[in-house]
């Protein structure tokens, strides 16, 4: 009997279909891989079957019965568990305590206290059952990444688990550690648990999975049998066939002088590894990479928000003596962060105060802020950017999301930058704003400035960049002139670099 059957699943976010008409089937004891680009709908799909999101249309059949899954706890009760990339463990709790999170603790004789003995007994039984070796007495904070993953899987098995969803489980594991995970997966499937495996790593996918389902733009493209499919076929299925030609803004190759030159930049935590790149005057350069490739970290290191361990950054031919946001700003570099609410705006301050913060010195005579100059400059940028607000004194927190976005860009423009660093410039904005932002970036380049942006939206990268870098595992693996580049090619670079391979494109 089919374990899980999903039919005609639709999910809308506003006007936009995150998933449309998805059909999906899963057999007991199979390893089923879920692949697709960033934003293809994998996460949304998982969130629906684990009860995080509600569905807008469609049916879910679980063990032959139609079910609704209103919340994550219900999913857990019927036997669907998920192990996330960002682990949901309480660091200061021991392994035992983490195992029993959300479950009724066994009581001791007094009926008041917790029976630690019974907790340990049950946990050790479970460990033996799946032959997992793990010291559960130490706190989660002292466990290594693979130990944490094992703990999460054990935790999923505390209740009868029929479907275990693993979301990028090997992202932080070494090869040997991954092997341990794979053998555990083997034991789980022998006992009839089905695994839904989400990963970007092709080798693993082909090694583990019985079947592979491909998502693209919120639709299920195909489900193939792993053994009879090649890597190339799979990448072709994933890449967007509709993008035939990129929509570049000009055919000419830019050979102007470099606005930005990054030489073998790296960080201590390994989030940026030996990265070199450059941006010329009037050029829009895109950085594409899959989730976890180190995109944000790269921009933040260039801007000086993260400490660099080695390498150098040159802006306009001048080597920066120190990497810090202050030095970057003084040299005309500005970063537009991905998380606007968190990193770009001060919600309880006015539009004016937000916009002039990076360049306060310009409005200060040393003793006094020149209010009139500040107000007039802010007003003109608000008009330029078409910010809809009661006035420059309105508190930013009261604005709509789109207008907050405009304030962020106006703030960046007000600092008259020579180089824009943009992190996911159009994430979570509507189509109109997206167009507007693209126009703005192009205008910035046409004025002779440089733009370096990262995006997880390949279409966007192909649409607006002159040149693009492909980032994989914190390294640049390819540099491509955006001249007839196809999404298939770009994805090929992302996927063809398996773990540990030191290949430079």
């Amino acid at each position: 009997m089919t374990l899980l059957k999903v039919e005609g699943l639709n999910k809308l976010f506003g006007q936009h279909y995150a998933l449309s008409g998805v059909d999906f089937e899963l057999e007991p004891g199979e390893v089923h891989a879920l692949v697709g680009e960033n934003g293809a709908g994998k996460s949304t799909f998982i969130k629906i079957i684990t009860g995080v999101y509600s569905l807008d249309a469609g049916t879910i059949t679980w063990k032959g019965k139609k079910v609704t899954i209103p919340d994550p706890d219900s999913a857990r009760q019927i036997g669907i568990n998920v192990v996330h990339q960002d682990r949901h463990l309480i660091p200061s709790f021991s392994g035992y305590e983490n195992l029993f999170l959300g479950l009724a603790y066994p009581k001791n004789k007094s009926r008041l206290g917790v029976s630690w003995k019974e907790m340990r007994l049950r946990a050790d039984q479970l460990k033996a059952e799946y032959s997992v070796e793990l010291d559960l007495s130490k706190p989660a904070s002292r466990m290594s990444p693979p130990e944490k993953t094992m703990l999460e899987i054990l935790r999923a098995m505390m209740l009868e688990c029929k479907l275990l969803i693993l979301d990028e489980p090997t992202a932080s594991l070494t090869d040997q550690e991954s092997e341990r995970l794979f053998s555990l997966i083997g034991r789980l499937t022998q006992q009839g648990t089905a695994i839904l495996y989400v990963s970007h790593r092709m080798d693993e996918i082909f090694r583990l999975s019985d079947r592979i389902t491909v998502f693209r733009n919120g639709q299920r493209v195909d489900t193939v049998v792993g053994a009879s499919t090649t890597k190339e076929q799979l990448i072709r299925l994933m890449s967007n066939a509709e993008v035939k030609q990129s929509l570049r803004r000009s055919g000419k190759k830019l050979t102007g002088e470099a606005v930005l030159k990054v030489n073998s930049l790296s960080t201590n935590d390994g989030k940026v590894k030996d990265t070199s790149l450059n941006v010329r005057k009037g050029e829009i350069v895109g950085i594409f990479g899959l989730a976890g490739a180190g995109r944000t970290e790269l921009l933040e290191t260039i801007y000086g928000l993260r400490e660099a361990a080695g390498g150098s950054v040159e802006v306009g031919g001048k080597k920066l003596t120190k990497l810090s946001p202050r030095v970057a700003l003084a040299n005309g570099v500005i970063l537009i962060p991905e998380e606007r609410k968190r990193d770009a705006l001060i919600m309880n301050m006015s539009i004016r105060e937000n916009m002039t913060l990076p360049v306060l010195r310009r409005f200060s005579s040393g003793w006094k802020l020149r209010g009139r100059a500040e107000r007039s400059e802010v007003a003109s940028w608000m008009q330029e950017m078409n910010v809809k607000a009661a006035g420059p004194e309105q508190v930013v927190g009261q604005l709509s999301g789109g207008n907050q976005q405009k304030v962020v860009f106006a703030k960046a423009l007000l600092s008259s930058p020579v180089l824009f660093l943009c992190d996911e410039p159009t994430q979570a904005v509507d189509v109109m704003t997206r167009e507007e932002i693209h126009r703005l970036l192009k205008a910035q380049a046409n004025k002779g400035g440089g733009v370096l942006f990262v995006s997880s939206d390949l279409q966007e990268v192909l649409d607006i960049s002159d040149r693009l870098y492909v980032l994989h595992d914190s390294r640049i693996v390819a540099e491509l002139d955006n001249d007839g580049v196809t999404s298939e090619q770009v994805l090929g670079y992302c996927y063809s670099h398996g773990k540990g391979s030191e290949h430079h494109g």
Binding site: Y303, L305, S324, P325, R326, A328, L329, A330, L335, P337, R342, D343, A344, L345, I346, M347, N348, M349, E353, L357, P358, L360, R361, F363, S364, W367, K368, L369, G371, K411
Partner: protein
Amino acid sequence: MVERSSSISYIRLIRTYGTVVAGLFIILAFSIMSPDSFASIDNAINISRQISFLVIIALGATLVMSVGEFDLSVGALASFGGVFAAKMAVAGYPIWITFLVPMVIAFGIGFINGWIITRFRVLSFITTLAMGTILGGLNFRLTGGATVFESIPDGFRYLGQKEWLGIPLLSFIMLIVTLIFWYVMTHMSFGRKLYAIGGNEAASRVAGVRVALNKNMAFALCGMLAALTGILMASRLGSAHPTGGDGLFLSAYAAAFLGMTSFKEGVPNIWGTFVGAAIIGVLANGLTILEVPTFMQDVITGCIVIAAVLMQKLGRGQG
């Protein structure tokens, strides 16, 4: 629609000026209950002198709160300022030196507070609590546990006891310090940066604000103001006790929190703190005149602070 928006602005008005109105109401009530003793010019002048210490120390607390931190060492710093200045005066240093040196040292101690907090990412709560404990011990070491009062020169008492045009110099000093810090917080880029850090530290960092340095400066200025408070108290009393300023610590934060409920809603601000300290001072004065015992004064003051903070939450649900 019209009704709705008017009711919202009504709530906003209460939230913005409610504390000020409540303060005026308290003054009115005392004036009715005690028209002769309370409602007199002499008493008003008296109150202005009484609150001067609280206002100055609370301004320091306001600076630190504006960057989203706390300094629990202000009381001990005030005691330190008084004791150190008095000791120096006894030792025969020129008066202006006896005032300046403890303020500079306190500035340094405050900066160290800030440095530990920003450099090692420790909670300001713990760091400044420990610093306060250290200072408390040192204050006893400095004085041997006794009040410093013998052979303090007359000049030392000048600022604390003299009047000008019938108004105490202390009241003038309080006003000048308030005006200076009002200017710093609203008209200088330093103040803007402090508020930015308090509003969103991550965004301030992205905007190139030197978060650590500015925070350290806030702590340093807070320390300096606390020491100034202690020095002025010693000057007023003509003596200094090793725990003389400790009691101001809780009132300072009560004043700053009361202040957050006025003018700039939910944000520590200078005039708000001034009003907060004034309310606490008026309460203490009026209740004393009405012969309410001190412990009941504490009960009433505490209730009023809670009431003010609750009032600020009024209508918050709608955003």
